[in-house]
């Protein structure tokens, strides 16, 4: 007599696979109330995951755009004659981290200020002959983090002697925005973590109820000589199936609503869209949708097995 496993025949592995799948579907349908509860749970968690991710990547993207858009302005004293501007230009362009330097004449500065006002640009009209704005060089660095060093250099004696009176920089703005971004990342990570824990608890509970109602069945299976994995597979598949459906629905719903929400925000808060644009659906969903669906499937399967453990000790 042999009390040990023998090599399994391939055909029986296939047979078993069909049996597991059939059992999982039957069970999910039979316990439809529980299944619907679990699907809703996963749906909510997956939606939160997708929302958190979308918010985080959009904040990061907007920051990147803002950071590269806002440069440094080195303002030149009115007393510096035009002939010396070339010298200053060359000195700035020679700085290692500097990518571009543009001269902005006082008139150009005034015009762009008038543009930014949209309406009421007639306020500026009278100023053309008595321009309060000074000439400046607009300096763009390669990397936002180099700004501080460049600003320091431009404020140094060398440049002050040449006639740079003031250096205006976006550093403060970018630092603030970076702080916002880090905070948003942390909040999103916490939301994702908490919802993951919550969903494991909720799904485990739902499946535990399913399992408890099938305790007899499991005991009988074990008496007849079913291995633990044979007992587990249908439940595991049921959990995966439920998790997969919940997460897929969440991915579909958010893929449809995402552009609508982006549009609504852009309409409402046009100041954001003036400086930065949100990521399009095609750049967010090919990454997060598969992650959400796979997480849903794994979460469902793992919770199911977690719920089973107690009953396999027969």
């Amino acid at each position: 007599m042999n009390f040990f496993p023998t090599r399994r025949r391939f055909s029986s592995v296939i047979n078993n696979a069909f049996f597991y799948i059939a059992e999982a579907f039957k069970s999910a349908l039979k316990n439809s109330l529980m299944s619907v509860c679990s699907i809703i749970t996963i749906f909510i968690c997956a939606s939160l995951l997708i929302i958190s991710y979308s918010v985080a990547v959009n904040i990061r993207e907007c920051l990147r755009q803002i950071e590269s858009a806002v440069g440094i302005a080195a303002i030149i004293d009115d007393s510096v004659p035009d002939e010396e501007l070339d010298k200053i230009y060359n000195a700035i362009a020679d700085i290692d981290d500097v990518k571009e330097v543009h001269f902005v004449s006082a008139q150009a500065a005034l015009a762009s200020f008038a543009d930014s006002l949209e309406e009421g640009s007639d306020i500026v009209m009278g100023l053309e002959n008595d321009n309060p704005l000074r000439r400046s060089f607009e300096v763009v660095v390669y990397r936002a983090k180099d700004q501080k060093a460049v600003v320091k250099l431009l404020s140094s004696e060398t440049f002050v002697d040449m006639g740079v009176v003031k250096v205006r920089q976006a550093q403060d703005v970018t630092e603030f925005l970076e702080g916002v971004s880090n905070f948003a990342n942390i909040v999103c990570a916490v939301i994702i973590f908490v919802t993951a824990v919550l969903s494991v608890i909720l799904i485990t509970t739902t499946i535990k109820i399913t399992v408890a109602s099938r305790k007899n069945e499991i005991t009988i299976m074990k008496y007849v000589g079913a291995t633990d994995s044979f007992v587990k597979w249908p439940f595991r598949l049921e959990g995966a199936f439920i998790g997969g459906i919940g997460a897929t629905v969440a991915a579909a719903v958010s893929a449809i609503t995402y552009p609508l929400i982006v549009h609504a925000i852009s309409e409402q808060f046009s100041f954001i869209t003036n400086i930065a644009s949100f990521l399009p659906t095609e750049e967010v969903f090919p990454i997060i949708a598969p992650i959400a669906i796979i997480s849903g499937i794994l979460l469902g399967a793992l919770s199911a097995v977690g719920a089973l453990r107690k009953y396999l000790e027969v």
């Binding site: 007599m1 042999n2 009390f3 040990f4 496993p5 023998t6 399994r8 025949r9 055909s11 029986s12 047979n15 078993n16 049996f19 039957k26 039979k30 007899n216 069945e217 005991t219 009988i220 299976m221 074990k222 008496y223 007849v224 000589g225 079913a226 291995t227 633990d228 044979f230 027969v314």
Partner: protein, 225 residues
């Protein structure tokens, strides 16, 4: 086939289920285990199934000490042993056919083997006409026949029955016992724990009488008062 050597089982509560029990059953033998409630009949059966572990002594099946079968391999031990219980323990959502087929599905049986063995076994217990019924549509005696079919469909060398007639009327009980006897005639080793004294008296098989966890009598070839 089955051999108990000085087996003692003490439950967590301190109650002794079995005390120093020794006996052996030959291949193809039919054995009744009788005794008052709490005498240790179910304990003995649970020990063979490795549902409980003895504190001391050895249980050998086909010469192998089942203490050496790891938890992981217990299912493979159980596939060599068919079991029937007082409360039938059928899966309520499966038909008669599916309940019996289930015992084959958990093994490496193919579709063809299942299609061949299940109807044959159902015929043997006289239930081939009820293959599509659900357990709740059957009488107690019929349900026990299904349970018996499930226990023997894989042709295990050993069949254990724990009060198989406990929920049945005398006539039905007799029919079930006759089926168990048929199973033995096909070469299986059969152990039946029971309260049904009249049947035991009539069947003239070997009887082990337990009391308070010890063997009171071991009478081969029939019970004579």
């Amino acid at each position: 086939m089955i051999r108990f050597k000085n087996v003692t089982k003490i439950y967590d509560t301190g109650i002794k289920g079995l005390k120093n029990v020794s006996f052996s059953v030959e291949k193809g033998e039919f054995l009744f285990i009788v005794g008052p409630s709490g005498s240790g009949k179910s304990t003995l059966i649970k020990l063979i199934l490795k549902e409980e572990e003895p504190q001391s002594g050895e249980i050998l099946i086909d010469g192998q000490n089942i203490a050496n079968v790891s938890h992981k391999n217990v299912p493979y031990l159980r596939r060599q042993i068919g079991v029937v219980f007082q409360d039938f323990r059928l899966l309520p959502n499966k038909t008669v056919y599916e309940n019996v087929a289930f015992a084959m599905q958990i093994t490496d049986a193919t579709h063809r083997e299942i299609k061949r063995n299940v109807p044959a076994t159902l015929s043997m217990v006289g239930l081939h006409k009820k293959a599509r019924s659900y357990p709740r549509q059957l009488s107690g005696g019929e349900q026990q026949r299904v349970a018996l079919a499930r226990a023997i469909v894989n042709r295990p060398p050993i069949l254990l029955a724990d009060e198989p007639t406990g929920n049945l009327d005398p006539d039905t009980s007799w029919e079930i016992m006759m089926l168990l006897s048929d199973v033995q005639k096909q070469g299986m080793t059969v152990l039946v724990a029971t309260h049904a004294w009249d049947i035991v008296d009539n069947m003239k098989k070997r009887v082990i009488a337990l009391k308070n966890g010890t063997i009171l009598r071991d009478v081969k070839g029939g019970y004579e008062n």
